[in-house]
């Protein structure tokens, strides 16, 4: 047993007790949004947080303003690479070129650690001879492709005899779970399957209505509960309905939830357990991830996997400028395969993930 556990629990309790009293007090006074709160008299640890001298402050403000006028900072990844091509063509590579290469990957949200590993691996392969830019690009792309590897990117709808396969959609708020559920239903119905959509988001206002419209569009059957109902029972009902109608597949939408909310994660665990009970069988737990997400995407993937065992990622909103590079880190570090990509809000805007396309896009230059 951890010798600190008691102390830690008590300490937290005390702090919260103290803090609650403090925040109650603060609520009743004017809460300014400035830095005033931390501007102490310079006592103790607060000395380090003293307001800056006026001239330093000005300089800081100037730097901040300067950023807004720096066009280079704002060019999307594609153009940065276009600049690379323009300057070097197919001549020998330089340090500056490598830095631009790093910038491309970073701007694609690949993340610092993964980017450095990719570049190190690429550099190793071309260290022995002077390489042209094209070669470096190709090598880096090959490294990314290797990281993405040969994974099973198919969606499984197999289930033991007599059980109905269930696809569970999970993820944080606003990523596109409901829309993706609809698109998946459309795809399955187009393949001749009969689909039951479970409106497992019983929290968000009109979430079931949203899914109902998708059910209508796709010809899938909808099972919904009352708003505020227990999502697990809605999923349970959906599975039962699917069994009764001998449907081929249940697609269960769930409410968006931050992985930091313990009780909501617990709720999700329960949903999965219920969905996996006879006559249901959880064949896929799909983490829906927004391509605009930064490094937090990796944390999301790790946490959701720990909670409910993610079997694949759906990367949505890839039709935007964001590259979704965080999936490289997810595949590399967690071994979870990206199975699908979302390219729009329409029924057909869902495609299988193509690693080669994706790797190319990470480095591509704009027209």
């Amino acid at each position: 047993m951890n010798p600190y556990i008691l102390i830690i629990v008590v300490l937290l309790g005390l702090l919260v007790g103290a803090g609650i009293a403090l925040s109650l007090r603060r609520r009743s006074s004017v809460a300014s949004s400035g830095a005033g709160v931390l501007e102490a008299d310079g006592k103790g640890a607060s000395e380090l947080l003293e307001p800056a001298e006026p001239k330093i402050q000005e300089a800081a403000e100037e730097s901040a303003r300067e950023v807004a006028s720096l066009p280079a900072a704002l060019k999307p990844t594609k153009s940065a690479f276009g600049a690379l091509r323009e300057r070097f063509g197919s001549g020998p590579i330089t340090q500056e070129a490598l830095e631009l290469l790093e910038a491309s990957l970073l701007r694609a949200d690949v993340g610092l650690a993964t980017t450095q590993r990719i570049l190190a691996a690429a550099a190793e392969r071309i260290a022995t001879r002077s390489a042209s830019l094209d070669e470096v690009l190709a090598t880096a792309q090959a490294v990314v492709l290797e990281v993405l590897g040969d994974r099973d990117r198919s969606l499984s709808s197999s289930a033991p005899e007599g059980l109905i396969p269930v696809w569970l959609m999970v993820g944080v708020n606003g990523v596109g779970k409901t829309t993706t559920s609809g698109k998946l239903a459309a795809g399955a119905v187009a393949q001749g399957k009969s689909v039951v959509l479970a409106a497992g988001d019983t929290f968000r206002a009109a979430a079931a209505d949203q899914l109902a419209l998708w059910a209508e569009r796709t010809g899938a059957e909808l099972v919904r509960g009352a708003e505020g109902a227990d999502p697990s029972s809605t999923v349970f009902d959906a599975v039962a309905r699917a069994k009764a109608r001998s449907a081929d597949l249940v697609i269960a939408d769930t409410a968006g939830r931050l992985h930091t909310k313990v009780n909501l994660v617990e709720e999700l665990r329960k949903i999965r357990r219920v969905a996996d009970r006879e006559p249901g069988h959880v064949a896929e737990v799909l983490l829906v991830l927004d391509a605009t997400t930064g490094q937090n995407g990796l944390v999301q993937a790790a946490q959701f996997t720990e909670a409910v065992g993610v079997t694949g990622v759906v990367l949505t909103k890839l039709d935007g400028a964001a590259k979704g590079g965080i999936v490289v880190a997810i595949e590399e570090q967690l071994g979870i395969a990206v199975k699908l990509v979302g390219l729009g809000e329409g029924l057909e805007d869902l495609q299988p993930f193509d690693p080669a396309d994706f790797a190319r896009e990470l480095f591509s230059s704009s027209s």
Partner: protein, 498 residues
């Protein structure tokens, strides 16, 4: 990952402690660490580079400081740059001389515009205004319905028209005038910033409504592209302010800095949860700490407050101080703390906690908490009230009943006894005997007592009392506060209720 930067910088500052002036190589190393932290926090690459350039210049003529080590001076410079970049004048809404005041919300898909619209409406209501919500997201299935339901929850009328977004906007403004509403909040559909047609549409909505305020709604977990899409929205709509959403997650939120740097307008509001009251004015100083990966004690407290039963927490704290803390209280505390999320994560958020404690906390998972809880639950009420009465045979029974070992039961009881002793001695003004833990608990106790006793204690004093260090304080002596004497006969005066 919250403690990573502090730890990394601590290592550097330790090495730099002995040096008087910071040299080029040291500065480069420190800046490299900070660059890593900023990129990991999703601060846009160009913005990061510029920020660090500013820091480099600021550090160029660093004089030898009496109290700060060179490493600390670098960190201080970073902090200042960040706060300057994020902060600025506090935002004040000025209402239109001829009502209604029109507020337009725009942003990418899924950032939380609809929920934010309702939250804003509620906020305006609290300011004594009469808002009307106008739903012009005709794209997303049931979006209008969603806003209607939310509107009902806060008793704010919602208007929409299925014709077209611009027509709905126009009619919405007329409706506002007809109903005598003095604020109009327009919720638009989420759209890609690079979709020309949709950007034309939101521009048309803006032209039709002539908003007094156009707010860009940005998701706190956005990555590198946040700056770019913000610029595109700004080019079209001339954004007046930014609203950050989903701040209750653990994303570091560098997008806030990126967007502010690019758009040059203040971040006005921060949304900290799915409920409509989880909405407040934005705090740039706290965001700076968060981006740098340093503990933000107030957010922790507010988060905990939301998830814990404050009455129970207050009661337990009071009982602890007066020496009445029993295993029952501990059990209640344990169950509360569990709701707050992973202990390790929480501890990492708390400055003033020693490295040993943080490492120890890292090792604590739900499994461990479950075990401790099981042990305490296996005790009878009598045993919980008087742990001294738990003899060998009882311990065996408890171990069996909880599925743990007698060893673990022994350990827990021993710890509890020691803790009680420690609480008693600290309550009466003495110093705790367990090394390394004194800062945290002692500080917390003193803070608690000071709050109960004194009026007008502000955050700075609280932080100081708890020995909070946002930054490594290798060169600084920790200030100690004289302990307050425990009141005879008992209970600590509870603070006034909200």
């Amino acid at each position: 990952m919250f403690d990573k930067l502090s730890d990394r910088l601590e290592r550097i500052t330790d090495r730099l402690k002995s040096r008087g002036r910071i040299n080029e190589a040291d500065l480069n190393e420190a800046l490299a660490e900070i660059r890593s932290a900023l990129l990991e926090a999703d601060v846009e690459l160009g913005v990061t580079t510029t920020l660090l350039q500013g820091v480099r210049e600021q550090c160029a003529d660093l004089e030898r400081s009496k109290s700060l080590s060179p490493g600390q001076q670098v960190v201080k410079a970073v902090h200042e740059q960040l706060r300057a970049a994020l902060g600025g004048d506090s935002f004040k809404i000025s209402y239109a001389s001829r009502p209604p005041t029109v507020v337009l919300l725009a942003g990418l898909q899924g950032v939380g515009k609809t929920t934010t619209a309702a939250k804003l409406a509620r906020w305006f209501k609290e300011q004594g205004r009469n808002p009307l919500l106008v739903a012009v997201d005709l794209q997303r299935p049931a979006a209008v319905e969603q806003l209607r339901v939310l509107g009902e929850q806060i008793s704010v009328p919602v208007f929409s028209d299925p014709s077209s977004p611009t027509e709905a906007t126009r009619l919405g403004l007329e409706e506002a005038k007809r109903l005598g509403r003095d604020v109009v909040i327009i919720d638009t559909a989420g759209r890609l910033a690079i979709d020309e047609a949709l950007m034309d549409e939101v521009n048309a909505i803006s032209v039709t409504s002539k908003p007094d305020y156009s707010f860009l709604v940005v998701d706190a977990m956005s990555g590198q592209d946040a700056a770019h899409s913000a610029k595109l929205f700004h080019d079209r709509l001339n954004i007046d302010g930014v609203i950050m959403t989903k701040l209750d997650g653990d994303a570091r939120g560098g997008a806030a800095l990126s967007v502010k740097s690019v758009v040059g307008r203040p971040i006005v509001f921060g949304s900290t949860g799915e409920k409509l009251d989880e909405f407040d004015l934005f705090h740039p100083d706290r965001m700076a700490d968060r981006i740098l990966g340093m503990g933000d004690i107030l957010s922790l407290i507010e988060q905990a407050e939301r998830q814990m039963d404050s009455a129970v927490a207050e009661r337990s704290a009071a009982r602890l101080l007066s020496g009445e803390f029993t295993l029952d209280d501990f059990l209640a505390q344990l169950q509360q703390v569990r709701k707050m999320g992973s202990l390790g994560g929480l501890m990492r958020l708390m400055p003033g906690v020693t490295r040993e404690m943080r490492d120890a906390a890292n090792g604590i998972d739900d499994g461990q908490i479950n075990r401790v809880e099981a042990v305490v639950k296996s005790m009878t009420a009598g045993e919980r009230n008087d742990p001294n009465s738990i003899d060998g045979s009882r311990r065996t029974r408890i171990a069996k009943g909880s599925g743990t070992s007698v060893q673990e039961v022994n350990q827990l009881l021993k710890q509890f006894k020691e803790m009680q002793k420690m609480m008693k001695s600290m309550s009466s003004g003495g110093m705790p005997s367990i090394p390394g833990l004194g800062g945290g608990i002692g500080g917390a106790l003193r803070a608690r007592k000071a709050l109960a006793g004194a009026e007008g204690t502000d955050l700075a004093s609280l932080q100081e009392m708890m020995g909070q260090k946002s930054l490594p304080t290798a060169a600084q002596p920790r200030k100690t506060q004289p302990g307050k004497k425990k009141k005879k006969g008992g209970r600590v005066t509870p603070p006034k209720q909200r």
